[in-house]
């Protein structure tokens, strides 16, 4: 498949027909319009044409920075940090569904199930907590202080 230049014809040009050009021009224009519309009024839901909003929110220079984590207690009473790899769900995804977890903490039970499936050799989970750590900022500079708050908890019944 590599070819060694025997078929190369640098002086020749394979051109597109009128229809080929028209279709490509149309597709390019439609996609451009979708990207503009997505950026103007779209949301993440409109992927892949939603707004490119990575790091697009403004954070107050002196408001505390929040960092979310999951902690779990297993049936032996051991408490540990529940990492992304233990459940299959990423931290940012937990944050993205935070309002659902608050409204219905039983959804955390699904994460306990996922943990038990993925860690069959370990004791099952008795409790999961969503904990938010607020790093204190002073004029944009971390003061070294932080506070941890329990946001939502779920107990296996």
């Amino acid at each position: 498949m590599s070819g060694h230049g025997t078929l190369s014809r640098p002086d020749t040009e394979v051109r597109l027909g009128g229809r080929g050009r028209a279709v490509r021009l149309g597709v390019t224009a439609v996609c451009a319009l979708l990207v503009v519309a997505g950026t103007l009024v779209g949301q993440d839901d409109d992927f892949p044409f939603g707004p490119f909003r990575m790091y697009s929110t403004t954070d107050d220079i002196s408001a505390p920075v929040a960092s979310t984590r999951l902690e779990a207690i297993d049936t032996t009473g051991r408490r540990f940090r529940l990492s992304d790899g233990m459940t299959g769900m990423r931290r940012a995804e937990i944050e993205g569904q935070m309002s659902r977890f608050r409204a219905d903490p039983a959804l955390l039970g699904g994460l306990a199930e996922a943990y038990d499936d993925r860690n069959a050799d370990r004791p099952p989970l008795a409790r999961i907590e969503i904990i938010i750590r607020h790093f204190d900022l002073d004029a944009g500079r971390p003061t070294g202080r932080y506070t941890d708050t329990l946001d939502t908890g779920w107990d296996a019944s």
């Binding site: 498949m1 590599s2 070819g3 060694h4 230049g5 190369s8 640098p10 020749t12 040009e13 394979v14 051109r15 597109l16 080929g20 050009r21 490509r24 390019t28 996609c31 451009a32 990207v35 950026t39 103007l40 993440d44 992927f47 892949p48 939603g50 707004p51 490119f52 909003r53 990575m54 790091y55 697009s56 929110t57 403004t58 954070d59 107050d60 220079i61 002196s62 408001a63 920075v65 960092s67 992304d84 790899g85 459940t87 299959g88 769900m89 990423r90 940012a92 995804e93 944050e95 993205g96 569904q97 699904g110 994460l111 996922a114 993925r118 790093f135 900022l137 944009g140 500079r141 971390p142």
Partner: protein, 282 residues
């Protein structure tokens, strides 16, 4: 800068191989968390508009692992250049479903618009051999469309910052927050210099808003600008371990890839070897 400027088919062939070989790397390394959704219960699946309209099924263990395996095989075969239209279309559709599985659990990433456009347009070109210098308008459009998508990612990212963050984004603590949450030993010190981070926020918006200029630059300056963009992503990775790697692969659509001939170099190297093992045996 024209939409249908012809480029060597060899450039398209090399870009196609790069894009399709990146798919297994993406599956196994850079976004290996997607496969981990196989164990997440269906009630945590919040399908994107795309997933609701089509409508795509709620991912199960079997579906997620099945798409993963099919995509792995299809992309590796497609990287050889065989059946470019059929395999290219299959890889595009499988990857799109893979993205729905990736982004439907509460977080949408924005690092691969250019890569998705590359996967969408590559099957339109048909046969293209490595090293072929024959120029083709179809290949030119495919690479140009990918370049548009790469540049659009920067330009519209600045627009989104102004829409969601407002002008205050420039002087806010967004980068401080990013480093506090994802910083590395290379970047943790900068949080003590908020002025530096605010300055960098101005720089980011300025370069994103002016990025379309790259499309109109003369060749030599365009190559330098692309080099600078790769350096920016390397620095971002060192500072907050976010790689935008699929975007960086798509950005290779700007490079003269027809000159990259690993198989030819290998055979020349072998031919130049004074005592190749095969010859010694005869």
């Amino acid at each position: 800068m024209r939409l249908f400027d012809a480029v060597p088919l060899g450039r398209l062939a090399a870009f196609r191989t790069l894009v399709y070989l990146f798919v297994p790397i993406d599956l196994l390394l850079t976004t290996n968390w997607v496969l981990q959704h196989k164990d997440v219960p269906g009630d945590l699946y919040l399908p994107l508009l795309l997933g609701r309209v089509l409508p795509l099924p709620t991912p199960t263990y079997a579906l997620t692992v099945g798409i993963f395996a099919a995509l792995l095989v299809a992309s590796v075969v497609a990287a050889t250049g065989r059946a470019p239209r059929l395999l290219g279309t299959a890889v595009f559709l499988l990857y799109l479903e893979w993205m729905v599985i990736a982004m439907s659990y509460g977080k949408v990433d924005h690092d691969r618009f250019g890569f998705l456009v590359a996967l969408a347009v590559l099957p339109t070109v048909g046969r293209a051999r490595w090293g072929d210098l024959t120029r083709s308008e179809a290949a030119g459009w495919a690479l140009r469309a990918t370049q548009f998508a790469v540049v659009a990612t920067y330009f519209f990212a600045a627009w989104a910052k102004l829409r969601f963050g407002g002008l205050d984004w420039l002087t806010g603590a967004t980068l401080t927050r990013a480093v506090l949450r994802r910083g590395t030993f290379l970047s943790d010190w900068v949080v003590d210099y908020p002025g530096l981070l605010v300055g960098f926020q101005f720089f980011i918006v300025a370069f994103e808003l002016t990025s379309p200029v790259v499309l109109f630059l003369a060749y030599r300056w365009q190559q330098r600008a692309i080099g600078a963009l790769y350096a920016f992503h390397l620095m971002t990775y060192a500072a907050i371990t976010i790689s935008f790697l699929p975007h960086c692969v798509a950005m290779a659509s700007f490079l003269p890839l027809e000159k990259v001939r690993p198989l030819v170099w290998l055979s020349r190297y072998r031919a130049a070897d004074p005592a190749p093992p095969a010859a010694a045996r005869t």
